[in-house]
């Protein structure tokens, strides 16, 4: 299942997260008016697995990295039960930085899909999957800089909190008025401001707390087993 040529892998790595999945999410919201969200979430899940496999360079790494990613996903879901402050972004970023951008995307998308079994699935699920997936993916692309400079890591956490809010409010407007409207969008952004600040603050706090201990453990696993 990982016999891809490097060129096909490279194409998949770009096309899936930036073209296929966003168009699927928008299509689901606009054409089906959000009513097929379970199928859309499923499509995103399948695509994120393909993306994950495209990120695996050697065959024998695949199942190890998958189990480790599943563990990090479970950790993110576990952390979503903490009241008010959620470490989900921090865990996605840590996974992406150490295990690769594609693993980060999968952690983000699946932790939303799984935790929403407890917190409620809905037409917002595809947007949340895309949001957290992209946060992980981009962190993976920037992994070299983020590993070297802790201040940049914290800034990335804060920025991703704000960006997440921007993505989710597109959904709010689409659902509420059936089309996109800049006035309603800015109103939604304004009313979500306390949450945006909360996201940013909790991302910084958890990255500050987790980056060293969890980072060391992931680094150790990576060196010891070549994940």
């Amino acid at each position: 299942m990982t016999v891809f040529s490097p060129r096909i892998r490279g194409v998949l790595k770009l096309v899936i997260p930036f073209a296929l999945i966003p168009s699927l999410v928008i299509l689901g919201a606009v054409v089906f008016e959000g009513q097929r969200y379970l199928i859309i979430s499923l499509g995103i899940a399948v695509l994120s697995i393909v993306l994950f496999m495209a990120g695996v360079e050697r065959r024998n790494i695949g199942s190890r990295r998958m189990v480790i990613t599943a563990i990090m996903t479970a950790l993110a879901v576990f952390g979503r039960f903490i009241p008010v402050f959620k470490p989900i972004t921090a865990i996605c970023v840590m996974t992406a930085v150490y295990l690769g951008a594609e693993a980060g995307f999968m952690t983000g998308a699946f932790s939303v899909l799984i935790s929403n079994i407890y917190f409620g699935q809905g037409p917002w699920t595809p947007f949340q999957m895309l949001g957290f997936g992209l946060i992980g993916l981009i962190a993976g692309y920037l992994s070299e800089i983020l590993l070297k400079n802790k201040a940049l890591l914290l800034i990335y956490g804060a920025v991703s909190g704000v960006a997440y809010s921007f993505i989710m409010d597109i959904w709010t407007v689409l659902w509420y008025s059936g089309g996109f409207d800049w006035g309603l969008y800015s109103a939604a952004l304004l009313s979500a401001l306390p949450f945006t600040v909360l996201y940013a603050v909790s991302n910084i706090a958890f990255l500050l707390l987790l980056s060293k201990p969890v980072g060391n453990k992931l680094k150790r696993i990576k060196i010891k087993y070549g994940v």
């Binding site: 009513q35 480790i68 479970a74 799984i114 699935q121």
Partner: protein, 289 residues
């Protein structure tokens, strides 16, 4: 027929997709009224929403209803002016209908979350892609494992005298150490899991998935009934007219409109009807001797 919760998860999912589809697709007051009332009835009946949930939805309803007239100024009937912006009756009615849609959809989604537990969701996903089912089941397993191991490590630390609940800082420090051990243990253990999976032939062929549910006649007839009622409701929707801007015009009670509304009401009440029917049957069949 079986109880509603005993139906095949696919039948349950199809049912909720039908109800949610009509609720979120139609901006039509009559249908949304039916949907809102029946969704509240369903949630009260299956106890999936607590008092806090009702209050949250009510507040959300009020906010959503008022936001539209504050930002949209279409419509001919001006009620009053707010900072030189007209506050129109049409925008207010649209806001109330949209808020009703959101509240009804939230109630249905809560009811669905209660009806489709994690094993059922996994079964549905597993039918489409065994690989997704594997990752989901693995993650769900680790959540349970985390809880169990957390307790084990905590007990060990306590027995070693390393764990002190006395003051807040010590308690937090202890908790952080337990969490750290937990992550190390689970990650190391995950590698063993992966090796073991490969040794047993993972990645060597197509995956299949274990299915604990079977599709019975009752499930098929339930799906057919839901789809038929949905079709009638959609025809009914097509034969009504709902215009908000610039001037409100509702034609809801055409013959097809009434038939569609009746079909939709029946569809929405199906879970309650099935459960009550089964409860009555159970009463009648209990041996009186």
């Amino acid at each position: 027929m079986k109880r509603f919760s005993d139906l095949n998860p696919i039948a349950t999912a199809v049912y909720y997709m039908c109800v949610l589809g009509i609720t979120m697709f139609s901006m039509q007051p009559l249908m949304l009224c039916i949907s809102l009332v029946t969704s509240i009835l369903t949630c009260v009946y299956d106890r999936s929403v607590k008092v806090k949930g009702h209050i949250f939805t009510a507040v959300l309803f009020l906010i959503a209803a008022v936001i539209n007239p504050l930002f949209v100024h279409n419509g001919v009937t001006v009620l009053f002016y707010l900072n030189d912006n007209p506050f129109t009756l049409e925008a207010l009615v649209y806001g109330i209908v949209a808020a009703g849609m959101i509240a009804a959809a939230l109630y249905w989604l809560r009811s669905m979350s209660a009806a489709l537990s994690s094993d059922k969701i996994m079964y549905i996903f597993g039918r489409f892609s065994p690989k997704i089912a594997l990752i989901i089941s693995m993650s769900l397993r680790y959540i349970g494992l985390f809880k169990e191991r957390f307790r084990k490590i905590q007990n060990t630390q306590r027995a070693l005298g390393l764990y002190d609940d006395g003051n807040l800082i010590d308690a937090l420090r202890g908790r952080a150490r337990v969490l750290s051990i937990l992550i190390t243990w689970t990650l190391e253990n995950g590698i063993v899991t992966a090796e073991s999976m490969e040794a047993r032939g993972y990645m060597s062929g197509r995956r299949t998935s274990y299915a604990p549910y079977r599709i019975h006649m009752a499930d098929i007839s339930f799906i057919a009934l839901s789809l038929a009622l949905t079709a009638i409701a959609i025809i009914g929707l097509r034969n009504t007219q709902t215009v908000f801007y610039p001037d409100m015009r509702f034609e809801l009670f055409t013959p097809w409109g009434i038939a569609g509304a009746a079909a939709f009401a029946l569809l929405c009440l199906l879970p309650i009807i099935i459960n009550i029917k089964e409860a009555v049957k159970w009463r009648l069949l209990i041996s009186k001797a």
